[in-house]
């Protein structure tokens, strides 16, 4: 009788689970400038370990710019500059003694258009391993990685074939395999499925559900339904037009995906997810 009468405090349990989650990234007032132009304005966000966090928003709202700050890929643009503080496990990513190459070893990235190297499937996966000196048991590592990327069964008989002979969806999974081969902690995905057909997209989404058991995943997507399907947390970046007329991205709302899609707090978020405003 007691069991039936006791109301399960679902909200309470969830709060507890959240408190136990470690924070992988902490952004405090992070702004990104390209030359004099501000692309992203004062983002404050905590990204949690082993969850999938999606970043959604209209074009030009700085989603790609922001995700690239997380592994210092913004360094590749000479005019890019970051203000505020971005910490990875407590370490300031943009601090003076931080080596961006080391950062990128721990925080991997997969891009919108699949970009496998024009080498064999095996060599694509082994590339990072060889260069970073993780050469022991290469065959086993390659197999383990391809299994983790749900690609092994499809390619195990043709590892020496060129990666360029794979389909788009397979190539993208290969890129994911290549990224996880070097055992990063975080995987960043910048619109990973936007160049793929629905079946390939579905395969990538299933893969993400599996990968989040071991990796923290951040994904930028312009497909809201995809964010709704795969993400645990969702951040909505909106477009802000300054009085001077320039456009910059701001973080409007960041919450559990369920909340964003059933009852968002901010009317701008509501406007975007219901498709009323681009």
């Amino acid at each position: 009788m007691e069991a039936i009468r006791t109301k399960i405090d679902v909200a309470g349990q969830e709060r507890l689970a959240e408190a136990e989650r470690e924070t992988v990234f902490e952004a405090r007032d992070v702004s990104v400038f390209y030359g004099g132009q501000r692309a992203v304005d004062k983002v404050n966000i905590d990204i949690y370990q082993r969850l999938v966090t999606a970043i959604i928003g209209p074009s030009g709202c700085g989603k790609s710019t922001f995700i690239r700050t997380l592994n210092r890929m913004t360094d590749l643009v000479p005019s890019a500059r970051l203000t505020g503080e971005l910490r990875y496990r407590g370490i300031d990513l943009y601090g003076p003694k931080v080596d961006p190459v080391e950062v990128r070893r721990r925080i991997g990235m997969v891009f919108q258009k699949p970009n496998p190297f024009p080498k064999s499937i095996y060599d694509n996966v082994a590339y990072g391993l060889r260069i970073l000196g993780m050469k022991k048991d290469l065959d086993q590592r390659v197999e383990k990685t391809l299994r983790a990327a749900a690609l092994w069964d499809e390619v195990k008989d043709r590892l020496k074939d060129s990666a360029l002979g794979l389909s788009g969806g397979q190539q993208q999974r290969l890129c994911i395999a290549r990224a996880i081969a070097v055992e990063p902690e975080v995987i960043l995905l910048d619109e990973p499925a936007s160049a793929l057909d629905p079946i390939a997209t579905s395969a990538i989404e299933d893969l993400m559900h599996e990968l989040k058991r071991d990796y923290t995943i951040v994904i930028v997507t312009h497909n809201m339904q995809q964010a709704a399907r795969v993400a645990d947390m969702t951040a909505f970046f909106g477009l802000n037009v300054t009085p001077e007329g320039s456009r910059e991205g701001i973080l409007v709302e960041y919450d559990k995906t369920e909340k964003i899609f059933t009852n968002p707090s901010d009317s701008r978020t509501e406007g975007y997810v219901t498709g009323r405003f681009g």
Binding site: N71, M73, L76, V101, E102, V103, R104, R105, R106, G108, M109, V110, F111, K113, N115, P116, F117, P118, K119, S120, Y127, G128, I131, L132, D161, S162, A163, L164, G165, C175, R178, A179, V182, P184
Partner: protein
């Protein structure tokens, strides 16, 4: 079934179009045939004029001593060209590729423009001037040598290799570089492990063209290595060595028909040398491409 609103039957316009198409096709084919014909004519005329001197001994023996218009061969010259051009390639190729990397990856736009201008100007310097330059720099103090010849040829080859390599390096999509960098691979490793292998085809092609050009140079070698021996197939780069071009020059100046034939035969040999180098590079490229499955 009702008549369609417009007629799909052939009209005068269609016939005219078909005629124009056929005419253009014929012109294009004609142009291609012409190009092949020119090459064929050149090869055949050179070969036929040198035919009398072409025999096995021509390739395997060194020049016969004394006045002997039909005896002996040009082995010394073949070896000489090989050494001079080979060393020049060894000098110019890495330098050219590094310059290309600098231009495509590292230089600011302004610096890149200046460098490209310098390369283009160097490319335009008459080769005889390059020869004189190397003469004053090297030969005046140390005497002639094949090495000096290689140096001059390297100066001539370098802009060609640099510019064509730069072009192909730029053609490698940035997404490839990004992919490697995102793995935590340094910039230099990325360039050597991803970008250059991808661009290899273009680099080889540019190098082959440069080799072809260098192998055909005569003027600079006149200053730098013309005192080489023709009696032996010397291959010491510190000695002056003869080249096929110098041999052609020398034989063409001698009146005897035998020597004249030797000149043509040497020319033919040089052409074959260039042809074999080109084909070899193409085959290597094809095999490389097949390996990549591109």
């Amino acid at each position: 079934m009702a008549e369609p609103a417009f007629s799909l039957r052939t009209s005068g316009r269609l016939r005219r179009r078909q005629l124009v198409n056929r005419l253009m096709g014929a012109l294009a084919l004609g142009a291609a045939l012409l190009a092949v014909a020119v090459l064929a004519i050149v090869v055949i005329s050179v070969a036929s004029r040198g035919a009398s001197a072409l025999n096995l001994a021509f390739f395997t023996q060194n020049e016969a001593q004394g006045f002997n218009p039909t005896g002996g061969g040009i082995r010394f010259a073949i070896v000489g060209t090989g050494v001079i051009v080979g060393i020049a390639t060894l000098m110019a190729l890495p330098l050219g590729v590094m310059i290309a990397i600098f231009l495509s990856d590292l230089a600011s736009p302004r610096l890149a423009r200046i460098t490209r201008l310098a390369l283009d100007v160097t490319n335009g310097i008459p080769t005889i001037v390059v020869g004189i330059f190397v003469y004053t720099m090297v030969v005046a103090a140390h005497g002639q040598s094949a090495l000096a010849g290689s140096l001059a040829l390297a100066i001539i080859m370098m802009p060609l290799i640099a510019r064509s390599s730069e072009e192909v390096l730029l053609l490698v999509p940035n997404s490839q570089r990004e992919a490697s960098l995102a793995l935590g691979v340094s910039r230099w490793r990325t360039t050597f492990s991803v970008v250059i292998p991808s661009a290899m085809g273009g680099i080889l092609t540019g190098t082959t063209l440069a080799i072809a050009r260098a192998a055909g140079e005569t003027a600079p070698l006149l200053f730098l290595t013309s005192l080489g021996t023709n009696a032996t197939a010397d291959s010491n780069p510190l000695h002056p060595l003869q080249s096929m071009t110098l041999a052609i020059f020398k034989y063409s100046e001698l009146a005897d028909a035998g020597f004249q034939a030797k000149a043509w035969a040497t020319a033919f040999t040089l052409m074959c040398f260039v042809l074999v180098t080109s084909l070899g590079a193409k085959m290597a490229m094809a095999r490389y491409r097949k390996k990549l499955g591109g």
